[in-house]
């Protein structure tokens, strides 16, 4: 359970990281806190020839007021998102969810950008970003672009980030008065969610996203449209699994996950009422 050998490159700046990615292409992987990548490397599910270490780019660890949104540096650790007064007051869902990732040790190393770029459908933070209707900033050799959360997750552990792009910032709308709920169903404290739900309401509507209900983190589109057209919470929750492809594994089969999604969306909407 030792990672395969690789060449280690420490990036001194975001530009240097992008240059290293440009040079090595998909042979290279960026490593921030490493809490998604190192386990994959230990199981030899990932065997990058080059690891570009960005964990010390302290300039990418921040929480800033961006006017109508919060701007969070990609290398901001979960524990710093969790305890940030600004995130707590302006996007309470995100602070809460950051505090539910893994355990304290994981939250002392793992980063928000790393978790989102990993794109794991079982992870908590992608669902929070989807429910909030946030976005990420990707920087590549040609400059920056903004990728809405709804377009970020493209396949199992795959994202819209190009091989030579670095996720530099996470943006979430400021929703200081929003009602929100996070439901994480698991058997043991630090496990991934068997199914999870992140939901956040605001003037524009209610965002609802699902954890571990398919190949990607996903929006519960049927629930959102039901709520938008005035359906009751119970009727909306009944549609939680529409358009999903829940996996079968040791923790539960697709039928069980379908049931959990309906129950958990129901609980989330009840908590927000």
């Amino acid at each position: 359970m030792i990672p395969a050998s690789f060449d280690y490159v420490e990036a001194a700046s975001a530009e240097a990281a992008i240059a290293a990615l440009t040079e090595h292409g998909d042979e290279a992987k960026l490593m921030a806190g490493g809490h998604s990548l190192i386990p994959l490397m230990r199981f030899r599910l990932a065997t990058p020839a080059v690891v570009v270490d960005i964990s010390r780019l302290s300039g990418l660890s921040y929480v800033r007021d961006g006017g109508d949104h919060l701007a969070i540096g990609a290398l901001t650790r979960h524990c710093d998102v969790e305890t940030s007064d600004m995130v707590r007051s302006q996007a309470g869902l995100l602070a809460h969810v950051a505090g539910q990732v893994g355990d304290p040790q994981v939250r002392h190393r793992g980063t928000i950008g790393g978790s989102l770029a990993h794109g794991d459908p079982a992870s908590d933070l992608p669902a929070a970003l989807l429910a909030l209707g946030g976005s990420v900033v990707a920087r590549g050799p040609g400059g920056e672009r903004v990728i809405p959360a709804a377009e970020l997750f493209t396949g199992f552990l795959e994202t819209a980030l190009a091989p030579d792009e670095l996720l530099t910032e996470v943006r979430v709308p400021k929703v200081p008065d929003a009602r929100w709920s996070f439901q994480k169903f698991n058997r043991r404290a630090q496990d991934w969610a068997i199914v999870g739900v992140a939901a956040c309401g605001n003037g524009a509507g209610t965002g609802v996203a699902l954890i571990n209900m398919g190949q990607t983190p996903m929006v519960a589109a049927a629930v959102q449209s039901a709520l938008a057209s005035g359906a009751s919470a119970a009727d909306a929750a009944a549609r939680a699994a529409e358009g999903t492809e829940p996996p079968d594994d040791l923790n539960g089969d697709a039928e069980y996950r379908t049931h959990l999604a309906q129950v958990l969306v129901g609980r989330a909407l009840a908590e927000m009422a």
Partner: protein, 167 residues
Amino acid sequence: MQVDMTVNGQDRSADVEARTLLVYYLRDAVGLTGTNVGCDTSSCGACTVLLNGESVKSCTILAAQVRGADVTTIEGLADGTALHPMQQAFMECHGLQCGYCTPGMVLAATSLLADNPRPTEAEVREGLEGNLCRCTGYHNIVKAVLHTAEHDAAFWQARASKSGVTA
């Protein structure tokens, strides 16, 4: 590659492969075997050490990533023969059985009290969720943490205000 760091207050340097994980750097290159390898997959917490004062799982960090950092292992807690308050509390409250999880538990608990010097029982249980005890001796571990939080309050308060300044 050459990897330098401070371990328990002493400068250490070793020539290791880039893929060397912090736990193996500490055990094999530095020779401090108090940090245990348990699950090897960042689940069990047996390998917990303090990195710049905060608990981390040393099986999921490359040694190369923490060059120059200040690492504390279980060997670095006691002051000579005087046990650290957390170690003393584990002894007094019988917070260990086989002892395998103990170094990680003690360090995770130390980090917990540095963040929150007077936790409730529920906060202690939640704060130690990253550490598994296969003897299932959790009750006395939690008791030990609450015991030192109460009996050594001044010590933990001083640590907490210190960590607040550097955070």
